[in-house]
């Protein structure tokens, strides 16, 4: 329990800040993040432009704020997709066992035999390199891990007394699954979803950095970093601040994830 407090606190503050900024930008930003202003090209951080301007004179603070909201919504949708698909597959597979389970899991394990990023790149080449392509590609790439975790949890639950009791009371299979099985899978699911949020954010930044993600002019931290790279000598702030945002967010998620694991999975307490 000793390490719980500071980890959770720092992680919570960082992630709270991220969501706060992502929400704030819908109401207020210091400047228009998309407005070109060639008179103010590549300005160093100043009182007017707190973190400077980019090669088109756009305000970095505003672009970072808008980027936060883009990254958060992409990450949430990706995790949502993976959780939805993975949970369904895992529940069906774990609950039915037999042939259905064997077929689903053979396919699932084959997908797990691909490194996540490789599968995402392959799917991206099919669905197109843009915002929606990323959500579908990463979402599908993470689905097998969710399915595996949920199936494991269901397998260990399905012979427990309270599940049998529910069946004996002639509750329908679907009701039993939703009411009794699923809530007991939540702990590992939350831990996994937190990690996936971090992976998605990192992968989305990496893909945007490679030019396979959200296309400009819409800002994301990844494509801002890529755009700032040619100017690294004369305007290093262009590359420094977006990367700092990504790092702080990932740090927040890692700390929060550790704290959650300690809390929800007491066996692992203090381990990772």
């Amino acid at each position: 329990m000793r390490r719980f407090a500071p980890n959770a606190l720092i992680g919570g503050v960082l992630i709270g800040l991220l969501f706060g900024v992502a929400a704030l930008q819908t109401f207020w930003m210091p400047h228009d993040p998309l407005k070109l202003n060639f008179a103010a090209r590549l300005q160093a951080p100043s009182a007017e432009f707190l973190l400077g301007t980019d090669e088109f004179g756009r305000d970095i603070v505003s672009r970072l704020m808008m980027g936060a909201s883009t990254s958060v919504s992409i990450a949430l949708m990706t995790v949502g997709l993976a959780v939805l698909l993975g949970t369904t597959i895992g529940l069906v597979s774990g609950y039915n066992r037999g042939l259905v389970d064997r077929i689903i899991m053979t396919f699932n394990d084959a997908l797990l035999a691909f490194p996540g990023m490789l599968l995402a790149l392959g799917l991206l080449s099919v669905f197109g390199a843009n915002q929606y392509g990323i959500i579908v590609a990463l979402g599908l790439a993470y689905t097998p891990s969710v399915a595996r975790v949920i199936r494991g949890a269901v397998m260990s639950l399905r012979e427990r007394e309270f599940i049998r009791a529910s069946r004996t009371m002639s509750n329908s299979e679907i009701y039993t699954m939703m009411r009794h099985v699923l809530p007991n899978c939540l702990a590992p699911l939350i831990v996994l979803a937190t990690s996936m949020f971090g992976w998605t954010l990192l992968s989305e930044s990496a893909l945007s950095f490679l030019g396979l993600g959200v296309p400009p002019p819409a800002p994301t931290w990844g494509n801002m970093l890529a755009a700032g790279r040619p100017f690294i000598e004369q305007a290093s702030w262009l590359a420094i601040f977006p990367g700092l945002c990504i790092s702080l967010t990932l740090l927040g998620i890692n700390l929060l994830g550790d704290a959650l694991r300690d809390r929800l999975d007491p066996q692992m307490r203090g381990a990772v």
Binding site: G116, L118, P242, G243, V272
Partner: protein, 314 residues
């Protein structure tokens, strides 16, 4: 022993097969006619029909898969649309470049991080432990492409110690080529140190909790002997498994590092192929990386039995 090894090797075959099927059908999901994609804009109807026949696209999907699969087995991964060269030699050439960054980074990271993790576990909750775990979590949180840019900024531009752009193969100029590899290796190394320290610490803690360690302490063995002789061998297994995953993820995730440091490696090849919609290359890269990943993990599984002989009896 022999039965275990053979069993493991045989069990990799269905996985390889299903992976091939997945890669084959994944590319089939691309909307449009593969022959039209292959020809690009400069194809007339006659050329299209000829190519369709040549590729076997006029046959059933199963026949197509069979033809493709046996070609792959014989090392024919098709021809790149963009470069016009056979895919496999292209991939191998780029792979050998990526390996020069990935392998030294993983080896060095293991040599540094495994002892660091054991040390942190042995001194659980001390300043050393909290310090190491904090550094590890921090390193884990910094994206490699940003760390790489910062290194370029500091060591390349401000200090001028190392070259900033370009790439020279170590085979043409050993020392010069090495200079281009230092920063990419350092970047990957630091990131992986973060991951490995955490795993090494966690699995060491797990083992230190067991009864036989208490017994070893009761016998009056020194802490050093307990850690090295009794703990390390049992605690290294999970870290070893992690190393296999890291290698696979690095091979597919190395594109960002290769972009930052302008290294013409496998990651860059695949990303450029995605830009160019060069499907034979995408397919080839996916298949190649997945195969390497499966083989590395197979090898690690076999190695695992040395650290934890129990797996052989299961």
């Amino acid at each position: 022993m022999l039965r275990f090894v053979l069993g493991r090797i045989l069990s990799a075959i269905p996985t390889l097969l299903i992976v091939s099927v997945t890669v084959f059908f994944l590319i089939r999901l691309v909307p449009g006619d593969p022959a039209a994609l292959l020809l690009g804009d400069h194809g007339d109807a006659a050329a299209l029909a000829e190519l369709r026949a040549q590729l076997g696209l006029d046959q059933s999907v199963l026949t197509q898969f069979r033809i493709w699969f046996f070609k792959v087995l014989s090392g024919d991964f098709g021809t790149s649309i963009w470069v016009g060269e056979p895919v496999l030699p292209l991939i191998i050439q780029k792979f050998l470049v990526s390996v020069q960054v990935v392998i030294p980074a993983v080896i060095l990271a293991t040599l540094i991080a495994v002892p660091a993790g054991i040390l942190a576990a042995a001194r659980q909750n001390s300043v050393v432990d909290v310090g190491l775990i904090s550094v590890a979590t921090l390193l884990l949180s910094i994206p490699t492409f940003w760390l790489g840019l910062l290194f370029l900024l500091v060591f390349g531009l401000h200090l001028g110690w190392l070259p900033v752009v370009g790439y020279v193969s170590v085979r043409t100029d050993f020392v010069g080529g090495l200079l281009y590899l230092i920063l990419p290796i350092l970047t990957l190394l630091l990131h992986e140190i973060g991951t490995i320290i955490r795993m090494s610490r966690a699995s060491t803690l797990e083992v230190l909790r067991l009864d036989y360690i208490t017994h070893a302490r009761a016998k009056g063995l020194s802490e050093g002997a307990i850690l090295w002789r009794h703990t390390f061998k049992n605690a290294f297994g999970p870290t070893l498994t992690l190393l296999g995953l890291i290698l696979g993820n690095l091979l597919s995730g190395i594109a960002v590092i290769e972009t930052v440091f302008t290294i013409p490696g496998l990651g860059r090849l695949m990303v450029d192929a995605i830009y160019a919609r060069d499907y034979p290359v995408i397919q080839g890269c996916m298949l190649f990386i997945a195969f390497i990943y499966i083989l590395v993990n197979l090898f690690i599984d076999l190695l695992y039995s040395f650290f934890d002989p129990k797996v052989m009896t299961q």
